[in-house]
Symmetry: C2
Subunit: 369 residues, 2 copies
């Protein structure tokens, strides 16, 4: 008999991981990256007030965090215009996604997403034995009507949409999403809207659904616009019954106490957020300009990254990526054709983009062989 | 049709939570506690070097943490005298327990623990549908021979022991545990040893098992001796195959980046740890003295808390607890008879224990009616 005895589900799972982190890549290549533009981190950083709140919290770290994230949850409720009972704070969207999937998905249950959308969501679905139904992008956007039609066809319990989309940066108007939900979301299917990047998007992108609508759950994060990816703070907005159901399974004392304090301070610093949004908009333009200079095409983006179409196939884009990495530029790219003709460049400071601008022509030459 | 459609397992789970945090109790009572002695936090706090490392890390929080916790894992391997492949860093022991249960326990699978031992472990077992078999304490210690006999009888996949024990503070010698494992651990049953408090215990308490023994997994934490409960850093030590299996399901980017840096610095400050151990030993004596002054009995403890026998039944001890809480003293107590004749007092600074010494006589009077 083997030791230990894993469940059948676990034995059937692949050993692969959703992402290899930049630190691991740096250890393999034996040198640090000069520009860290691959994980859609917000290199403009958190509000100094958030930094200060975390620093103040460091000495108090002997205390467990507040299990209900009371202060942050109440502030988020004010921010979102809803009740605290509509808000769940968790260990980043990744952690929230895992728990949501666990609530709904038993082995064999159907889940619908786009082919090439967020791998960590797929990882969780597979991890709980769900049956993933993936639909292709349509003109580099997630194909919402097709996703909902598939959800009806396979009796999905959960359908995933990110808006803006990662990795393409494309987006839908909130009104279009709301209309699709109202017209075509099947009975018994929860609509999971990942709004991780929504603070970077144009007005009218963030869904303004009735927070008590039991058909929809939204997720947001402090990892992107608020510059706190390493803190692990995300939140879900949904109907109170659904929000409360997480209490059956979540790690109640799982929140880092400094992160709770930092997120609260970050949320309150609207000026810093506005400044970040402006810097990101500038960086998107700068990345697009670098793309054009190199004969490439920058796709429109509502996020803090730009998908740059290398105008050949996935093998070519992968060679560009490798050549950039060899020159100290950390970027990533879409996993699935035809989106994998692109590389995905996170917004950076002028000095980061200067490194990119210098390395890209050589990387393209190398990739062209 | 209800929205959303939860799994059968989730629908059957109770809504209760393992613990109500002190912040929640403070909100209910409308005032802060004057002494926070209920959650076995380490009020002596983290090493100043750990605080400094976390503060330095705050500005870099825009980066995700290293998904493999490479530096901390390697340092822990050095500390434990094993390979990095024997170590998994996770979001506290609570997080690690949840993932371990998920790896092994499918609905109906048997798990053995002591009645009154760690509720969060039970919460995870129940949360994955496991069948808990609980055995009574024996003379206020976990009854290891009985646990292993029950494991054989019910074909358990997992048996839990905490050493030192929480909530009683009792302990087993490592040699006794090793002998029991070798003689009586059934085939196919993983021995889960929770050593959260082991740094406070006498020499010879920490198990020195072969790290590659696939029958045993140990868990330790930075929440107790290292004073970093709010950081959420725990680690598991086990055979490489078992450690690697967590990669199939864990939240790879779930670690807070400041917490990783702080834990590394804390681990390296052996002098601070020694000082904490001495302070905890002093506090245990002081709590015992307070107990004696009030006609109560302090049980011997190898942890950073003392179970104080109130020498009546659970109802009486619960009244003492409530009366202490009303006087601003946060303590907890065992959940199950006859251990619930005790209240459990975490080690505190002299000023914390002075608050306790002042409140306890009144609380006892009130409880006696």
């Amino acid at each position: 008999m083997t030791h230990p005895r894993y469940t059948d589900l676990i034995q059937g799972l692949p050993a692969n991981v959703p992402f290899v982190g930049p630190e691991q890549q740096e250890r393999v290549r034996g040198a640090a990256f000069t520009a860290r533009l691959g994980a859609n981190e917000n290199i403009f950083g958190p509000s100094p007030k958030a930094v200060e709140a975390m620093r103040r919290g460091a000495a108090d770290i002997w205390k467990y965090g507040d299990a209900s994230s009371h202060d942050l949850r109440h502030a988020l409720a004010g921010h979102m215009g809803c009740a605290p009972e509509n808000i769940l704070v968790g260990e980043g969207i990744d952690g929230l996604l895992g728990n949501l999937v666990r609530l709904l998905i038993a082995p064999g249950d159907a889940v619908v997403t786009s082919d090439g959308a967020y791998p960590t969501f797929n990882y969780h679905v597979t991890g709980f034995g769900g049956a993933l139904h993936k639909l292709p992008y349509r003109e580099d956007r997630e194909d919402l009507p097709a996703l909902l039609a598939m959800a009806a066809k396979v009796d999905a319990k959960l359908v995933y949409l990110s808006n803006p989309d990662n990795p393409m940066g494309s987006w839908h108007k909130a009104a279009d999403i709301q209309r699709e939900i109202d017209a075509h979301l099947p009975e018994g299917c929860l609509f999971l809207l990942d709004e991780a990047y929504v603070e970077f998007a144009p007005e009218g992108t963030a869904l303004e659904v009735d927070v008590n609508d039991p058909r929809v759950i939204r997720m947001r994060t402090f990892s992107k616009a608020y510059g706190m990816a390493g803190a692990r703070v995300g939140y879900a907005i949904g109907a109170p019954d659904l929000i409360r159901s997480f209490d059956k399974i979540r790690n109640h004392f799982g929140m880092n106490r400094m992160a709770q304090a930092g997120a609260l301070a970050a949320l309150q610093d609207r000026q810093w957020l506005a400044q970040t949004q402006a810097k990101v908009a500038e960086a998107r333009k700068a990345i697009a300009a670098i793309a054009v200079e190199n004969g490439l095409v920058a796709l429109p983006s509502a996020a803090n990254f730009v998908a740059v179409d290398c105008r050949q196939d996935g093998d070519f884009a992968r060679r560009v990526l490798a050549a950039l990495s060899a020159r100290g530029i950390f970027v990533r790219m879409p996993f699935v054709a035809p989106q994998d003709r692109c590389i995905r460049i996170s917004c950076g400071r002028p000095e980061d983009l200067e490194h990119l601008a210098q390395a890209l022509p050589e990387a393209l030459d190398e990739a062209r062989g």
